[in-house]
């Protein structure tokens, strides 16, 4: 070993000696951050979720509250009703079906309308884009209650569309031509005037209105990064606007499109106010039923919890399906 080697070795040792406490401090800090993060996840996500899961096995005491137990009766009730085997009902499965149907159709409607809007928005000046985005972000801050109230007024007899129908003579015209009776058969009119609530159309419209700003904001980054020269090149080669949209723009935003749809879908599963106001009780969702059982006079938290767990499992299945679709889309075809 030469002197130089000796020196180098000594310097290395010294460096390690200085670095060691520093590394230990960094290690301790990162450990602390980890512990805090995990504690937060545990306290705010896992523990409430576990509590819901545990309560879902609880037992309802008739005429009183409920008690801790380990029974599957709440899950059984979801599929066949409380009076099984004397009779069975698909009431709760039907509600789950409507949860999915509303969430899927409202999410798709929002995406289909937000996509062209966002694309056109990204073609505008920076300033105009900023104004639009700020406006949309501001509307997001409106609570579901206010949005639903607004739509309620738009669709109400004395203040909204039906009033326009009556005032413009459209209602009388419908009555003369016989179309009014058809609308009555469809549940879209009472003997006096047309009525738009409760109806599935009103519900889906309101739900997609609620998530529409999110759709725009989520699609914006992908669409604004899109290179305009691609579309221009396609146009110069003779492709029409529709062909350009179909073969150039859509394929390049396929992933964010699927991701946004999934996010809107999950968001819509929990909708409550819009459903109770605009949907007929035959089309109410699991979220409404959960609320009624937990906060209603029966105080049946276990059954509410069981319904929540089933909704969670179903939503997860939908998300896995969506992820599978995404992976399929990501692969070059």
């Amino acid at each position: 070993m030469s002197v130089a080697d000796d020196l180098a070795y000594g310097a290395e040792k010294a460096a390690v000696a200085i670095a060691a406490p520093k590394a230990a401090v960094v290690g301790r800090v990162s450990l602390a951050v980890h512990v805090v993060l995990w504690a937060a996840v545990l306290a705010f996500c896992l523990v409430p979720l576990l509590l819901v899961l545990i309560i879902s096995f609880g037992h309802k005491v008739e005429g009183a509250g409920w008690e801790w137990a380990l029974t599957l009766e709440n899950y059984k009730r979801f599929f066949v009703g409380a009076n099984w085997p004397a009779e069975s009902t698909s009431l709760y499965l039907g509600q789950l079906y409507w949860s999915m149907r509303y969430a899927v159709s409202a999410a798709l409607l929002a995406i289909v309308t937000a996509l062209p809007f966002t694309y056109l928005m990204t073609r505008q000046s920076r300033r105009a884009q900023a104004v639009w985005l700020v406006f949309l972000l501001a509307t997001v801050s409106l609570s579901e209650v206010f949005s639903v109230m607004g739509w309620d007024i738009i669709l109400s007899n004395n203040s909204g569309l039906p009033m326009l129908f009556a005032a413009s003579g459209l209602t009388d015209w419908l009555k003369e031509t016989g179309w009014f009776d058809v609308l009555r058969d469809w549940g879209l009119a009472n003997p006096r005037n047309v009525k738009f609530k409760p109806s599935e159309v009103a519900t889906v419209l309101t739900l997609s209105y609620l998530v529409w700003p999110y759709a725009v904001i989520l699609l914006y980054p992908a669409l604004s990064r899109l290179d305009p020269s691609l579309a221009e090149a396609a146009r110069t080669m003779g492709a029409g606007p529709w062909t350009v949209a179909r073969t150039v723009i859509l394929p390049s935003v396929r992933l964010p499109l699927i991701g946004t749809t999934l996010l809107l879908f999950v968001f819509l599963l929990g909708a409550y106010v819009a459903i109770t106001v605009f949907a007929d009780p035959s089309q109410h969702t699991t979220a409404v039923s959960v609320y009624e059982h937990v906060r209603g006079s029966t105080l049946n938290a276990p059954f509410g919890a069981a319904q929540s767990v089933i909704l969670l499992v179903t939503a997860t299945a939908f998300l896995l399906l969506g992820q599978w679709l995404t992976r399929k889309a990501a692969r070059p075809s």
């Binding site: 009703g81 039907g94 009472n190 409404v288």
Partner: protein
């Protein structure tokens, strides 16, 4: 009794609360040596009116100071009191319970205690129905009551219905009525009183199913199954519905503000619900509680509550000095008494059967 709370927010608001809170605080030190009693009631306009009008009159009459305790409602409060009793420290001496909650409390046991009725002589003014006795003595003395009534839009419905049965007439009411979506909003009691044997029909499952089947026949006429009270209020104002079932006091208030709504007492009557004062099992204020309940049962106090809070008196009209108009604003006859026991004993069965009917599942 959410109706009164909500109305509080809309109408009277905070100034009122501040004034009454201040008067309570300022009054306390002067009679700190004197006797006190903690009384619970539903918060908001309701509790504030009690503090301003009823408790002050009680203190003036007896020298007992009332410390007002806010209850969120009847059901949740029972859970609170259950936990408090188990812990050995109760937040109030007297609680205000709706009849179904009071029955629940008596069944759970150890939460409320029997009252010495000899010290509450004025309770003889009340119909015995309002003195709840589950077998171990009177557990609750009626405090006040409220009706949910048949309502119509008088500009659309020219001839007021004489019976609830008229609502089943589709030629008049197709897709035009608003009813509560909740199974226990007492429309079943109305149907039982109109087409069956009243509360007796609730004794068997078959009877309950027959009532629900009868309500199912009404479905083509229902445009709105409301879950929040404000939905029905808006639907009546907007003309989305031209009739249905709604709270009597709120309907009268809306009518007095010029909205097209008119509450009616058809020949079968309207459902009457009521609240009771109950003494906590751990309270040592038996004497003060008896004086309070005695004061509350007095026809003059009952009339005071009708005027200031909008509740229906639990004593006959001729015992009070209420005018015909004042009485009609809060009460009427006949009264349909809900089948409380069935709603408790068969709650899961009734809720599911009702929900199935409403959903058509």
């Amino acid at each position: 009794m959410t109706s009164l709370n909500r109305r509080a927010l809309l109408k009277r608001g905070g100034a009122f609360a501040a004034v009454s809170a201040a008067s309570t605080v300022m009054g306390t030190p002067l009679i700190a040596q004197a006797r006190t009693l903690r009384v619970g009631s539903y918060g908001g306009y309701f509790e504030n009116s009690f503090k301003e009008h009823v408790y002050t009159a009680f203190t003036a009459a007896t020298g007992i100071t009332v410390e007002s305790v806010t209850q969120p409602n009847s059901n949740d409060w029972l859970v609170t009191m259950q936990q408090a009793t188990a812990a050995g420290s109760i937040p109030t001496d007297i609680s205000l319970y709706a009849r179904d909650t009071m029955i629940k409390a008596s069944r759970l046991g150890g939460l409320i205690k029997p009252l010495d009725m000899a010290k509450i002589p004025a309770s003889s003014n009340l119909d015995p129905y309002f003195l709840f006795d589950a077998g171990q003595g009177v557990l609750g003395v009626g405090a006040m009551s409220w009706f949910s009534a048949m309502v119509i839009n008088p500009t659309e419905v020219k001839e007021a219905p004489a019976s609830w049965a008229d609502f089943w007439d589709t030629s008049k009411y197709e897709a035009s009525l608003g009813l509560s979506k909740n199974y226990n909003a007492q429309f079943m009691d109305i149907t039982a009183a109109t087409f069956f044997d009243g509360a007796a029909t609730f004794e068997t499952d078959e009877g309950i199913l027959a009532i629900i089947a009868k309500v199912a026949e009404l479905k083509p006429n229902v445009a709105l199954w409301w879950s929040a009270e404000s939905q029905m209020e808006q639907a009546m104002k907007n003309g989305d519905v031209i009739g249905g079932q709604y709270y009597l006091d709120v309907s009268n208030l809306m009518a007095s503000e010029g909205f097209p709504i008119k509450p009616i007492f058809p020949k079968e009557g309207n459902p009457q619900d009521y609240g009771s004062w109950c003494l906590s099992a751990l309270s040592d204020k038996d004497a003060e509680a008896a004086e309070f309940m005695n004061f509350s049962s007095d026809p003059a106090t009952q009339a005071l509550m009708s005027r200031k809070i909008g509740t229906a008196p639990l004593v006959a009209k001729d015992k009070t000095d209420l005018t015909a108009d004042e009485f009609a604003f809060v009460s009427g006859t006949p009264a349909i008494k809900p089948a409380y026991e069935a709603y408790l004993d068969k709650e899961t069965f009734m809720k599911e059967a009702w929900d199935k009917m409403v959903a058509g599942a």
